[in-house]
């Protein structure tokens, strides 16, 4: 009787599975576990996560790692996924000239044009000119209202047509002034407002967004711009779309332009040599890639963003494999169009502008990963026999076959963190396989950039968990519209916020992004990556490259655990009459642990 462990080191997760084999060759699965991979896949740093996974698994059956007789390590496919994002356009404001934001309570409605008048300098103002009064938070709402009332009434009255406040006091001021004007508040960088320049302000009606300042001709009308000047304010108008209030200044040297960044070209070296510029967009890049046929390598134009990115990825892989550098090749990329909210340089209130961008996942291939070294290190550290056994895809297929209701021939789609792999196993047990760039990590990156989160960790949480909006202290509305009521009041920190429903309770999303928007971005990111890749991968391994020659697809890997990706794929595959579903390894493990299970199973085959 002996304990056999199978270990699968993946790009992001390391999995362990332990089985007991009796002398007469009977195998019983005992336990399994998974933990995050330490270091890049295929490096000695992986040893930590392997030991950790084994410890976790053995602890579940009250045993020690030292009880294991044999550890079988996957012959990890020498492919590593990496992702990068490149913006294609950039908006630059050379002189501060706009404020567009969504204060929760602006006051008044409509638009006004006038000369900026700082409240400290009100004595310089003369009757007959339209003014927009600006007051910093040093001036209380009572003071501002009193000043406005004093100067706009009686003999020599000033004409104040609008007010800009730094403090959140627009309604307070409005309630105290006698002539109603549009008021914008919560303008943080009011100190940057220049005195004396012409400005236009607009506050939208309740429930609406601004109309004049989000329209180039509207700005031109209000500020009296020429055709040439109107062209230069177009990016301002664009970035103000959807705002509830805005200020646009006409500064003499003010200039805004949209630059198209030299993104560089990608070279596909395949059956055909194809060159494509990154700014052609994802679709054209992917078409070019498929036209290139069997790809030997992909490179980028030197000294451009994409060129540097591909060099960086290649270099990362070069550190793993110290054999000849020339053996490292980028064999696949997945390009995805995206929009990234980028901080406009020179803006007054931290405004962002949606810039066009392309997200890229690349797949790097080398001859062989130094798995043998990992095995040796592991063996000496644990005092256990460690063997590198079996090709990853074959092991995954073997594991996937333990899903109830499957039989050969069978296709598996292994959706992990770094890559999407597909394998077709024929009735005779022959395996055809492919590795595609782009999986869970690219999805996280897309979510992070499109929502402007600036934090990969929360992007990953958004990917993993469904959302809800806490509508009262006693109930929340799930993203599918369902209401959930709770017995004990929800922590006020979550009140009115969008939260993630995790197994460990609620996680609050700090950014004020509507739930619907997050859902849409999340689903779109998953669709762009996984649906595209599932079709690409399966078409590569399908007999005659025809999807109709595949009858069953088992989804395995970390991303198959996702709460919506498998359903998305099932819907897409329904048209091809393919039976497709989330694997359930050994009838109990769900889509995870396929490779580790396969490694334990294959031990039986080797014994006999």
């Amino acid at each position: 009787m002996s304990y056999i462990a199978g270990i699968d080191i993946g790009n992001s997760t390391t999995e362990a599975c332990v089985g007991e084999v009796t002398p007469d060759g009977k195998l019983t699965f005992l336990t399994s576990a998974s933990c995050p991979t330490t270091g890049t896949k295929g490096t000695l740093e992986n040893v930590h996560s392997v030991k950790n996974a084994l410890k976790l698994a053995m602890a579940r059956i009250g045993r020690e790692t030292s009880d294991i007789d044999l550890i079988r390590l996957n012959e990890a496919a020498p492919v590593i996924g990496d992702t990068a994002m490149e913006t294609l356009t950039e908006t630059v404001i050379t002189d501060s000239s706009m404020i567009g934001h969504n204060p929760s309570t602006p006051a008044g409605a409509g638009q006004a044009v006038g000369e900026v008048l700082l409240i400290e300098r009100i004595s310089r103002a003369v009757p007959g000119t339209d003014y927009i009064l600006a007051a910093s938070a040093d001036h209380s709402y009572e003071e501002v209202a009193a000043v406005v009332n004093q100067y706009t009434e009686g003999e020599g009255a000033l004409h104040i047509v609008g007010i800009i406040l730094q403090a959140d006091e627009a309604v307070l001021v409005e309630n105290r002034i006698h002539t109603k004007v549009p008021i914008i508040d919560e303008v943080r960088r009011i100190d940057r407002l220049p005195d004396g320049v012409p400005a236009a302000i607009e506050v939208a009606l309740p429930g609406q967004t601004i109309r004049m300042l989000s329209n180039p001709y509207g700005i031109a009308t209000l500020l009296g711009l020429t055709a040439e000047e109107t062209r230069t304010v177009t990016p301002i108008a664009k970035s103000l779309i959807g705002k509830r209030s805005a200020v646009v200044l006409k500064t003499p040297g003010g200039n805004v332009h949209e630059n198209v960044l030299p993104a560089g070209e990608i070279y596909f070296h395949g059956d055909r040599e194809i060159t494509i510029s990154l700014d052609e967009g994802a679709e054209k890049i992917m078409t070019a890639e498929s036209e290139a046929g069997e790809i030997r390598d992909i490179s980028g134009q030197p000294d451009t963003n994409v060129g540097n990115m591909l060099v960086r990825i290649r270099k990362g892989m070069g550190e793993l494999d110290r054999t000849d550098q020339a053996d490292i090749r980028i064999t696949d990329i997945l390009a995805v169009d995206t929009l990234a909210p980028v901080l406009i340089s020179g803006a007054l209130a931290g405004e962002t502008c949606l810039e066009k961008a392309v997200g890229i996942a690349a797949m790097v291939k080398t001859q062989k990963l130094p798995m043998q070294e990992i095995a040796q290190r592991l063996g000496s550290e644990l005092g256990t026999e460690v063997k590198v056994a079996g090709v990853e895809a074959v092991m995954a297929s073997l594991g996937a076959l333990t899903t109830p209701g499957t039989k050969l021939p069978l296709a598996i789609l292994d959706m992990g963190g770094g890559s999407t792999d597909a394998a077709v196993v024929s009735e005779e047990g022959q395996v055809t396989l492919t590795h595609q760039a782009g999986a869970g990590e690219l999805v996280s990156m897309l979510i992070e950039t499109e929502l402007g989160l600036g934090d990969r960790h929360i992007a990953e949480q958004i990917k993993k968990y469904p959302l809800a909006k806490v509508e009262s202290l006693f109930h929340m509305r799930m993203e599918n519209g369902q209401m959930t009521f709770v017995d004990e009041s929800i922590d006020p920190r979550f009140f009115g916020r969008v939260v993630l429903l995790t197994e460990n309770g609620l996680i609050r999303i700090e950014q004020e992004i509507p739930m619907e928007k997050i859902v849409q971005v999340r689903r779109e990111a998953k669709r762009k990556v996984f649906v595209t890749n599932a079709f690409r991968a399966l078409a590569k391994v399908a007999p005659d490259h025809n999807l109709r020659n595949i009858s069953t697809v088992v989804l395995v890997g970390g991303s198959a655990e996702d709460f919506e990706i498998p359903e998305m794929l099932m819907e897409e595959f329904a048209d091809y009459r393919i039976v497709c579903g989330r694997g359930n390894i050994r009838g109990s493990e769900g889509p995870r642990n396929a490779v580790a299970t396969g490694l334990v199973l294959s031990y039986l085959g080797e014994r006999s």
Binding site: A137, V171, F495
Partner: protein, 116 residues
């Protein structure tokens, strides 16, 4: 004491409230555009005042101010739980309590820091 309810409003129950605190709390509510009513009560505890204010307010949002001690409560919250409370709130915190009592009704996230 019985209040004549004319319109949906946030109730502020006070007991010898500090005028500066009360003024800023009211400004916070006003900026959010919600009505409020103030009543002097005999209770000498901000928690009790807030509890009764929330209970009596048609909107279910109430503030108790005893001296400078200020507490925001919503109807239905368990005993001993409140949205926020301060013994000696500064100007910002007073504004926040007012704004949050209104945001509770509007179902908007609470302000945690009164930023400018």
């Amino acid at each position: 004491m019985a209040m004549v309810v004319k319109r949906p409003s946030i109730f502020i129950y006070t007991h010898e409230a500090d005028p500066a605190v009360l003024k800023e709390v009211c400004a916070g509510i006003e900026e959010e555009g919600v009505f409020y009513d103030i009543a002097e009560m005999p209770d000498e505890c901000m928690l009790k005042l807030a509890y009764k204010a929330a209970r009596d307010s048609m909107l279910g949002s109430g503030i108790g101010i005893f001296g400078t001690a200020t507490c925001l409560k919503m109807r239905g919250l368990e005993k001993g739980k409140n949205i926020e409370s301060y013994l000696h709130p500064d100007k910002r915190q007073c504004r926040n309590v007012g704004a949050n009592s209104a945001r509770a009704i509007k179902k908007l996230p609470f302000k945690e820091e009164y930023g400018i």
